[in-house]
């Protein structure tokens, strides 16, 4: 159900305010509050509610209506201080500050769970390194035909230092961002070549080496497109997951 465009917008919206120094300070304060709350939670609450507050013998607090309606501990505090004796939860005598810390921690855990789909994942290399670098190298130079266009000494030199591991794996499968080269031939025979800036079924626009963009009605010219990524598109339905993981393991050695 998640729409990626929205995710991008949300990520962008979340990023902008974070650059404000005041907001940065607030975020650090909230993080410190959550860390303190986590410690308190683990010492006092985790035994029943689980180490990550997702429930054990006691209920899951991430999905709790009360926790999700709480503001700065106003509802959580009442339950913690009074207990729920009939359900086996004792009362705890925490200070106001401690209640706020626990509440901040629970809210941060809930936010973490609910925003997975909207965050860029950042898996560490050890999670992604399930392939075999030697097999990857053989595929690169053999069946994968990667060496037709790429070289570990030239365009892929130090490639593992240029991208986060998870982005490198995506770019192995499809390195977006390279525009096709397009050649437009007018009826007079005059020909133009350049980077394709735009091409729908009606109009084609290119930027020539002189930096100027030119545009044509496609019905009036001949258009030839050379897509440097055509081989990647063809490979999409050929790759096995093992091929991808092996290639990743190989390229990850190019530090």
């Amino acid at each position: 159900m998640v729409l990626r465009l929205l995710a991008v917008l949300l990520v962008a919206a979340l990023r902008l305010p974070a650059q404000d120094p005041d907001d940065m300070g607030q975020k650090q304060a909230a993080d410190a509050q959550a860390s303190a709350g986590k410690l308190l939670f683990q010492q006092n609450c985790a035994f029943c509610h689980g180490p990550d507050a997702r429930g054990a013998s006691g209920p899951d607090l991430i999905r709790s209506t009360l926790v999700n309606h709480d503001v700065n501990g106003d509802l959580i505090g009442q339950v913690v201080r009074n207990g729920r004796l009939q359900k086996g939860m004792p009362a705890f005598s925490f200070s106001d500050a401690q209640i706020r810390q626990i509440a901040t921690y629970l809210h941060s855990e809930a936010a973490l769970a609910s925003t997975v789909a909207r965050r860029a994942p950042d898996s560490p290399p050890e999670t992604l390194l399930v392939g075999d670098a030697n097999r990857g190298k053989a595929y690169f130079n053999g069946a994968g035909k990667c060496s037709t266009c790429h070289s570990p000494e030239r365009d892929l030199a130090h490639v593992a230092t240029k991208y986060k591991p998870i982005d490198l794996q995506s770019r192995i499968v499809f390195p977006a961002g390279l525009n096709p080269t397009v050649t437009v031939t007018e009826s007079s025979g005059r020909s133009f070549e350049g980077e394709q800036i735009y091409a729908d079924e009606f109009t084609v626009t290119l930027r020539g080496r002189d930096g100027w963009t030119r545009s044509w009605n496609r019905a009036r010219v001949q258009v030839r497109v050379q897509d440097p990524l055509a081989a990647h598109v063809a490979q999409l339905s050929v790759y096995t997951d093992r091929n991808i993981h092996d290639l990743f393991a190989y390229l990850e050695t190019l530090k």
Binding site: R63, N68, S114, P121, F202
Partner: protein, 546 residues
């Protein structure tokens, strides 16, 4: 007494003349579009033929309406047209606009709220009342004359992660609604409300309670079944002769980490047939048993009465997000055809009941799994169109690949993973429902397109491409016959109607709703081709009047 009775009659007459009698939805008139899909069938086919393949190239702008809402997702709603007034929405906004002039009659703005503002797909109408679902999952009744709010009912708790986007469906005295929300682990449901009071009539839960039918498709002794998802976020369809309501449900939760919920996970990713008077389940068919890719089965269940392999049938057709076309017998729910309409790499075929058999090696994994299609699916929420004259279902399809990551640790909650899209390309496909084969395919550009489809008896298909071009295609060949750039992707589904003997095509791009028609000069002095298309002579068959 007599005078008083006549006054009462007069009042009743006014209400009838200006409002929408639910009986009118059974046979919509050419000068109306009274419900989300235009009628109950979900075909989004219009019998109007004033605009046809010979004259569509002359379409001209009649008016454009600017919503002037600079933030948010723009127009994704299907306008309603009732008695010359159009009603359409964005997440916090409802407009009433004169269909002849494009001038605003009123504008309702909902208060600031924390619900997800991902889109708003339109309204339901009953007599003089409009029904509007808000981003924070409330249902409002508005006075259609003024936009004044009449009542407000909370459907679900926004604090838990619910939101709402869909257009309510009116069947008799039922206002039928669904809800959205899968960032957290909730439960889906369909509610029916009294149109006057907002009192709940019935609720159908997408997740069974322990012990109920379907509960054995969830693990025992965990809370998985209570938080298993199954959102109901796209308007269903209705067969008055069978008195059955058809609805597709959303994906299970946690979304990408299926290992905490072994089993088929009914009634998620399921097409259900309900009795609209009671909410009782009559039959179900599950397009994606135990989904782990976010491929909900909410896509419009299109109802078609036609021959299937030589025998007349009451059919239900869904081009599902998982890439399969399903053709069901809509009286029984029995699958007649299950065939991929787009390239996919996750299925090992279908079982004896027509359900796809998922290849577990294509489940999300910590190191990443390349899956075709991506999480947005082979299609998404955009309504398709079925043309009974060509027998083709027109669908905005996406060939797409994603690397799916299982990012769960401990007890998975929410999405518990992410897919990273690597490549996608969109097409409009004309699909033969007898075989699932693509008759023609029209490229709509790179990436995932978000255009809905309208087909007409003029032999035309209206849709849009990723660049923001509004397109009129030949329904038989897919050839472009007319286009105009709308300045942004056409995400609001196109509709058509005949007003003052002039056929309009409406389509919204971002914050602008455009009304296209043939030039008035042409309609006054028709060429021979246009003359044959005049409304008096086109005489659309009543049964297929959209």
């Amino acid at each position: 007494m007599i005078r008083r009775a006549s006054v009462l009659l007069g009042v009743a007459w006014c209400a009838l003349a200006q409002g929408l009698d639910p009986q009118a939805i059974l046979h919509p008139k050419p000068d109306s579009w009274p419900t989300y899909n235009g009628d109950y069938s979900g075909q989004r086919f219009s019998a109007l033929r004033q605009i046809d393949t010979t004259n569509v190239g002359m379409l001209t702008l009649s008016w454009a309406f600017q919503t002037d809402v600079s933030t948010g997702p723009g127009l994704k709603s299907t306008p309603l047209l009732v008695n010359g007034t159009l009603y359409f929405t964005e997440p916090d906004d409802v407009w009433a606009v004169d269909a002849r002039s494009g001038q605003q009659l009123w504008h309702y703005r909902y208060h600031a709220n924390e619900g997800l503002h991902i889109g708003q797909r339109g309204l339901g109408m009953y007599q003089g009342h409009l029904y509007f679902e808000t981003p924070d999952a409330h249902l409002l009744s508005l006075d259609a004359r003024s936009g004044e709010m009449q009542w407000d009912v909370e459907l679900a708790d926004v604090k838990l992660g619910y939101w709402a986007t869909m257009a309510p469906l009116i069947i008799g005295r039922h206002v039928i609604v669904g809800v959205s929300g899968d960032f957290t682990d909730l439960h889906g449901f369909i509610d029916s409300f009294d149109p006057d009071t907002g009192k709940l009539q019935w609720r159908w839960d997408a997740l069974p309670k322990p012990g109920q039918p379907g509960a054995d498709t969830w693990p025992k002794g965990t809370d998985a079944i209570a938080h298993g998802g199954g959102m109901t976020w796209i308007t269903g369809t209705y067969d008055p002769s069978l008195n059955l309501l058809y609805w597709g449900t959303g994906n299970p939760n946690p979304v990408l980490a299926g290992y905490t919920r072994p089993g088929d996970n009914l009634f998620t990713c399921t097409i259900v047939a309900l009795n609209p008077d009671t909410g009782k389940l009559v039959w179900y068919f599950q397009p994606s048993p135990h989904d782990v890719h976010d491929w909900d089965a909410v896509q419009t269940p299109v109802l078609v009465d036609a021959d299937f392999h030589g025998a007349p049938r009451k059919l239900l057709i869904q081009a599902s997000r998982n890439g399969y076309l399903f053709v069901l017998d809509r009286a029984t729910g029995k699958a007649l055809l299950s065939a991929p309409y787009e390239e996919i790499n996750w299925s090992k075929g279908v079982d004896a009941t027509g359900r796809p058999i998922a290849d577990a090696s294509k489940n999300p994994s910590p190191a990443g799994t390349l899956v075709e299609p991506d999480a947005l699916g082979a299609t998404n929420w955009m309504p398709p169109s079925f043309d009974p004259e060509t027998g083709l279902l027109y669908v905005d399809t996406h060939r797409s690949f994603s690397i799916y990551y299982d990012l769960s640790s401990g007890k998975p909650e929410g999405f518990a993973g992410r897919d990273l899209s690597v490549w996608a390309r969109s097409s409009l496909k004309a699909i033969d429902y007898q075989t699932g084969a693509t008759r023609w395919q029209h490229d709509l550009g790179p990436g995932d397109n978000w255009a809905s489809v309208l087909s007409t008896a003029g032999g035309l298909v209206f849709t849009g491409d990723v660049y923001g071009n509004i397109l009129a295609l030949d329904a038989r060949t897919g050839k472009t016959l007319w286009h105009a750039s709308g300045g942004g992707q056409a995400q609001a589904p196109p509709i058509t109607y005949l007003l003052d003997d002039r056929q309009y095509i409406l389509i919204g791009c971002r914050g602008v709703l455009y009304a296209w028609a043939l030039p008035e000069a042409l309609l006054r002095n028709p060429r021979p081709a246009a003359a044959t298309a005049s409304p008096a002579q086109s005489a659309p068959s009543p049964a297929r009047n959209r």
